[in-house]
Symmetry: D3
């Protein structure tokens, strides 16, 4: 693949993104038919952060953050930087200087399938990062990669402009053109959950509420009293 | 193994459980002769939680949480749900709706050798979970497992009704019939530690307090001054 | 290697250590030419701790903490205990009693390529630990190791008396004789960063500030508009 | 748990063991209702070995092989030694001298949730070992464990005298009293597979042979031609 | 994502595939500009296998091989089955019966980001499999997935009909439309390597053959004699 | 650390190396007092290789093999190349062309804490490699490292000129100046083992041969008959 930077990438719909942020990762992932999720080794550097935005993607060489500098120029307000590596790596490819620059461009946060450093400062800045590792390991600026090409990040396919939703549960990728439909499906799902939560809190069993007893019996589930075993 | 739900399982002694909760995981584990511990990859979703209760066990298919719904019906106040999988898995098999239901039944918390989701809501609910992973990955309800059979969870054998102690140090399993004896041994150990802590804080060396010097010399330990090396 | 305890090891320069603590791990690591870092699986038991001191080293058998008792006698105020194992191990080799003793001797904290326990108490004591794992697993006192010999801890070579810097980004080892030079180089680097941070916060791009555009073009980077792809 | 050696443990039925060896691990595991399997990180040191026998169990301290010497005295012809550790460990707890001794006692092989060494010699001896790791790391003889107590080895519960089946697919544990029934169920399953293999080899589809089409359609599976997508 | 089976997917060019098989994984990967590689945890079940073919893709639920049965109907001679899971899993989703069926349809081999079993029989059949694990763990047939949709398998994006090249070095994916161009670039690269191999075997240094000395000196590399250090 | 190549490094004694090769890794490691071993994740690319030689060390950037080309010029007949990375990495930094060059210089083999490729050709060449991974992932030549400086490789400290022993059990590092003493100690140990092997093969128990019964009893080991439990 030849190194390239793709400019003027279309973004996901802003209203859909706002809805997805409110819904959060788990509900969005369900609304997509349980797809689009990054692997669970990706963790936020501090609890409580919850963002949604359009992806600016980076494909980088392990241990080399040259292309992150290139990518920041492509960031517009509301974007999230998504960095994939050509091989598994935990080096600290991003720190407080890059965060300062990314924030100044209107970037909302970073998703990186590698390491991050200066996490104390990033936490104080309130700049959220989801990463594979925290590592002070310094990186070089020697080899080209690409910006705004499709990448596989933490097991998920990300196209530039896709909607990214990230919170304490992880990160989910919503294809740009599906963002509005997913937001709508998620909102419907959310509405249904409130009623379920109320009934469960009142002591109703999921077995009854979801009408599972017949299916379980049909599948062959049997009950035995402990004293009979 | 045929799918089965065992009902009316005897619980561990309530007074013993109360003592074990106060002692915590590390002291309980020592009082058991250093056995019964789950593997250290099991971590709490938020710091500071510390619970003890009787185990309701679940054996589930990876990525399938049908049996958790079945298990909740078997939960009584003071119980802890312990979920093992038939294969390593990190899917988010438990979230805020199940927690609402489990809490309504009097369940104290969850120990799951798989993933959990909605961790922000669970934290706000003060509902403690120890898990192998945090993951939004949705699960199916398609295959039977068992409830209240002996399971191996995170490397530890758990029988239904065993006492479970969980805190920031991990999770330890106390066989139901040994709970009272372990609680007593742990309480004795705890009493001894207070005196040791006072002496160590005053500057006394463990080498002297535990009378280790003779054993070390006998084993062949030698001291050399840095300047002589 | 015969078991041995080396006494009266020279310490790193106190003024240099004070500077290194202020600089933190990432800046110190860069000032050393990007070397000396421990592997990123080493994590602090609570966020926010940041210490620097001279290393008292321990080489221990997995699951055996006898030599930690021996090492504490060698600790002087301002020291950091650094424990390596002869094989990968996660057992809880250190807890609140050892921390009480180490603190009473003036020890600042612990770096251990194994497990630690009683983390709630250690957190309340404000006694920082960087470890590979948190585990209640108890250990034996049966086999000799060595104190104040060179060890490989979490992938980094540590000589007794080396300066150790530890914070949320990890742990870096500075050879004793290089501590002053590294502190000076780090302070220079830090001064430069402030100006960079200001410019980046004002919206200047790293591409321009670091004059990267020419190098990128020379390396062959091309830009293409999305509509042309 | 107090250190103990249990003597004169009853063995699994010899005829059942012979059948299980012929059936192999995968068929035995299916015949047990898909239970009893050790984790897949356990691998044979050379391909092609396939054994079945009665378990003599060992619970050992990590890095300490004292109890393996103790256990060998308890081995009778046709037994398999099963070694569990109290914590994850990869040290080379077993080598050619122990294998010589175990073989002289009639032991068929070793299953160890830790490391093994001298693998070249063991291969030349034709002495099969399934282990978590290959490691030359030497061990101590300092701390007691137990022999012929129930252990959790690589995630599976093993009672002394249980039937162990091990081949290139892994290791499965058959409870002693169920060995004959499992052998019979496995033999039936095996007979059915031959006919299936013949039909599949002739080009018949599993979809048809297992009559899956209706179930798939009912579950909602749809087919679309590539040109219509 | 709705479960779907896409039929009549176009295949990669047969002549290009034949060339790619001869070139092997490493040369093909280089010819693609170092992209398209699956993660190195994917290993062949026996050494020496080397195949190339068109991908029939499967997206399966962890621990559920229903869709593999569905996919086999879509296989044509020269195809390779590529199975991805919706979550990390090592269960033995494929064994000798499925291999018999797949082989009868003309399938060349299997690439599966999960486990495989019956590896002794598969080896005797000469049916090559690249997998994440070997495991006897049986699977269910309960939940739909998809066939011939784009999947991320072991970190690489695979479209149905892409060329798959697999050998002892791993697996590389060549987009269907690029197969001919990559084959040509690889063949050119291969021709150049023969001359290089001859010169290096004769003792010429890579430093000279690749004219690296100037670049190294310019980058700042210095040589020092050991006696001067 | 400034990039540097140290030339004319003294080698370990040739006679000692010859003895160490015959003794193999496990015996050498024991003769060193159980130290010097690399981590067990390092595995040979084919079974049966067993070499010993003097180390030429390389410290490389992850994913960059420039310094391996530099190092080959420093190799003399009987040397083993030992490659460490500044961060964990599995890229295929070494293949058949480099092996051809290294072999032409008299190099005996490679130990690399990263990946290797072209393993089929390397196997056919009989060129042994111990690595962390097999991966076709191509590398760049962009960033300097060092040659013949002390490195930590797979957890072991290696100085240039140290003796390296590698076989199916792993890799052990013998400090250059200790090679003769270790070889002598190992030869003595080897002589003792032959007699032990003979006695164990004749059925004598290790419990008796090593006179362990008294120590075990003193430590508190008890025997109980199964029928009494």
């Amino acid at each position: 693949m030849k190194p390239v930077v793709i400019t003027n990438v279309p973004r996901a719909d802003a209203a859909a993104i706002a809805t997805l942020q409110r819904l959060g990762v788990s509900t969005t992932h369900e609304a997509m038919g349980r797809s689009g999720l990054m692997k669970p080794y990706m963790r936020p550097i501090y609890p409580g952060a919850a963002i949604a935005g359009s992806a600016v993607t980076v494909l980088a060489q392990p241990g080399d953050n040259w292309m992150i500098h290139v990518a920041i120029e492509q960031v517009k307000p509301g974007d999230i930087l998504v960095v994939a590596c050509t091989a598994d790596n935990t080096d600290g490819m991003f720190g407080d200087l890059l965060a300062t620059s990314l924030k100044a461009r209107g970037g909302l946060g970073l998703v990186i399938d590698a390491g991050v450093r200066d996490v104390r400062t990033l936490t104080e800045m309130g700049f959220p990062v989801w990463s594979r590792a925290i590592s002070a390991k310094g990186t070089v600026k020697a080899t080209l990669g690409s910006v705004n090409v499709p990448v596989v990040c933490a097991g998920a396919l990300v196209h530039p402009g896709d909607a990214i939703v990230a919170d304490d549960d992880g990160i989910v990728v919503v294809p740009r053109r599906e963002a509005a439909a997913v937001a709508e499906a998620g909102a419907t799902r959310e509405a249904n959950e409130e009623e379920k939560r109320r009934r469960l809190a009142a002591g109703e069993l999921g077995l009854d509420m979801y009408k599972m007893r017949e299916g379980l019996a049909k599948a062959g589930l049997v009950y035995r009293d402990h004293d009979d075993t």
